[in-house]
């Protein structure tokens, strides 16, 4: 059975149908990436999966539990970790303390949480910065901090919202190399990426393409990038014809 099953969910904000009848599933240790142009509904989809929003229609089943109407902290306890597109570090706490906060989900001992946090920080190659307050970090480090905090909760599934957006290509690719190793931690991931296709091609087992809230294509990265609907969504109808002639 799939780890995450999204069944026919829709979400409307006033006059905008942000997510329109979307269904897909993610298996154990699978790396799925949701791609789509700006405004396609990626962040809304993530907020629905980690229960910040609840779907108007349809259901989300995670690890056998219906999570359509639970609270975000409950979702975290069930094993859904997340990173925020606009980074949300705890600015006045140190890097280590930021990651310890994730580790506290499974232990109430600060010493054990710190040990766990150091392990995660080493994996993400940012242990040299662990005693500095998070407010002094630059964006590449903050993006990694988001991932570290989520990994420390020992999730089964991690939602990476625009995890490489705004990073220089070299750093984006380095991070992609690390993300590829997430299954070593027993973690599946759903990444969301607008247009850094190099990362998607490298890391994703499967790609889900959203456009205007609807799922328009699904498949391996190689398959999906040649689909005419996908080219049209990104480049417009003119290029769809151009490329397929």
């Amino acid at each position: 059975m799939a780890l995450l099953e999204v069944k026919n969910i829709s979400k409307r904000f006033g006059g905008l149908l942000a997510i329109n009848d979307v269904s897909f599933s993610v298996g154990e240790k699978e790396m799925a990436f949701v791609v789509g142009p700006n405004g396609a509904g990626k962040t809304t989809l993530f907020n629905l999966i980690c229960s910040v929003f609840h779907p108007d229609r349809g259901s989300i089943v995670f690890n056998g539990n219906d999570i359509s109407t639970i609270s975000p902290d409950r979702a975290a306890k069930l094993g859904i970790g997340r990173t925020f597109q606009i980074v949300k570090p705890l600015r006045n706490l140190t890097v280590l303390e930021n990651v310890m906060l994730g580790a506290f989900l499974h232990t109430s001992s600060p010493a054990k949480a710190a040990a766990e946090a150091v392990k995660v920080l080493k994996f993400l190659e940012m242990d040299s910065a662990m005693h500095f307050p998070a407010r002094g970090l630059g964006l590449p480090m903050l993006k990694r901090l988001e991932i570290a905090r989520a990994i420390a909760t020992q999730p089964k599934l991690i939602l990476l919202d625009e995890v490489v957006a705004g990073l220089p290509t070299s750093e984006a690719l380095r991070l992609a190399g690390l993300l590829k190793r997430l299954p070593e931690w027993g973690i599946s991931a759903v990444g969301g990426v607008e247009h850094v296709m190099q990362v998607v091609m490298k890391v994703a087992d499967r790609v889900i393409v959203l456009d205007h809230g609807s799922l328009i294509a699904e498949g391996t990265p190689q398959e999906v990038v040649h689909r005419p609907e996908v080219i049209e969504a990104y480049l417009g109808a003119k290029y769809r014809k151009l490329i397929h002639e």
Partner: protein
């Protein structure tokens, strides 16, 4: 300097400070001075209790007079019903916790300034209720409060205030070093982030408020017992709410000894200014607060700690570690977004 050695010295300093504070009445005999010192320690304890909610959890409560007043009126009313003093004090703490649960359940649904405004509203409602229930609270005429100690000596009150301060400080230390403390600070820094790692923000905010309200009520009972007579405009007034918050913020909200330092400075200088400037002392008070907000926004202790601890800046290009091998030959192509 190792962290453990530093912590040891901090602990020794704090213990020495409280031992010295307990020995003050041996040297100082003047009732007036002890009364000022009582106020210093009482407001230090109240500031520390407020700090759990307003400082560590970042929920700006401007209605702590509600719990202070419940403590004061609780002692008066329960002992009027025949409860022994100690039972009356404990019962008034329980009632304060009940009020805190009620107020928290409503107010914590709001964030930022809306939360602060709702706490003021609850405290004001309590004050108006106390004013308008003459059969129960005595209304504006007031109500008698029993003496908590066998002698009407200021020394007992002073020592109780010192012990109360030490107790709240001890509990704060314990909280800050436990998971609870990390959770409270996480909620202050970013509630959404806290929830994303499984922190039930509403529950932990409420825990902080319950602890805070119980100690505030205890402080209120102590204060009321010193005066032996209370009226709503005294123990349920906005002045109490704002003074408690200002004490903590002046010293440094979210720091361990900030409220203690804040109370030492504010309460003793307020007393001095009262003598020199008489009615104009409130003006000095106001100027002092403005100066702190302008130049020491993190409070005295907060600003000092920041200067001492974080003068180094973190490494901005820390990726000395090799990137994963498979990526070494990767051509770094066009910039993102092209």
């Amino acid at each position: 300097m190792s962290g453990a050695a530093k912590k040891k010295w901090e602990a020794i300093t704090i213990v020495a400070f409280f031992v010295a504070a307990l020995l003050v009445p041996v040297v100082v005999r003047a009732d007036y001075t002890l009364q000022v010192l009582f106020r210093v320690f009482l407001f230090a304890a109240l500031g520390l209790a407020w700090n759990l909610v307003g400082g560590y959890t970042g929920q700006l409560s401007l209605g702590h007079a509600a719990y202070f007043g419940v403590g004061a009126y609780g002692l008066a009313l329960f002992s009027k019903l025949g409860a022994p003093n100690i039972v009356a004090v404990l019962l008034s703490m329980v009632v304060a916790i009940l009020f805190a649960t009620l107020i928290g359940a409503v107010s914590f649904r709001l964030r930022g300034p809306y939360f602060a405004l709702s706490t003021i509203a609850f405290a004001e409602v309590l004050r108006l209720v106390a004013k308008n229930l003459p059969n129960v609270t005595g209304g504006d005429v007031g109500i008698q409060v029993p003496l908590l100690f066998t002698h009407a000596s200021i020394i007992s009150f002073y020592l109780s205030a010192v012990l109360l301060t030490a107790a709240v400080l001890g509990i704060t230390v314990w909280i800050v070093r436990s998971r609870l403390g990390y959770y409270l600070m996480a909620i202050r820094e970013d509630e959404d982030t806290a929830m994303s790692v499984g922190v039930n923000a509403t529950k932990y905010k409420l825990i902080a408020l319950l602890l805070s309200s119980a100690f505030t009520a205890l402080g209120g009972a102590l204060y009321a017992s010193l005066f032996l007579y209370i009226v709503p405009d005294q123990v349920l007034s906005m002045d109490i709410s704002s003074e408690v918050a200002i004490v903590a913020m002046l010293g440094g909200a979210g720091t361990l000894i900030g409220p203690l330092v804040g109370s030492l400075i504010l309460e003793s200088s307020a007393e001095v200014f009262k003598n020199i400037f008489q009615e104009a002392h409130l003006l000095i008070y106001g100027v002092l607060i403005m100066l702190v907000v302008l130049f020491l926004p993190k409070g005295i202790v907060g600003t000092l700690m920041q200067k001492l601890r974080f003068f180094k800046s973190p490494p901005q290009a820390p990726f000395a570690a090799k990137p994963p091998g498979e990526l070494n030959n990767e051509p770094e192509r066009a910039a993102i977004g092209e």
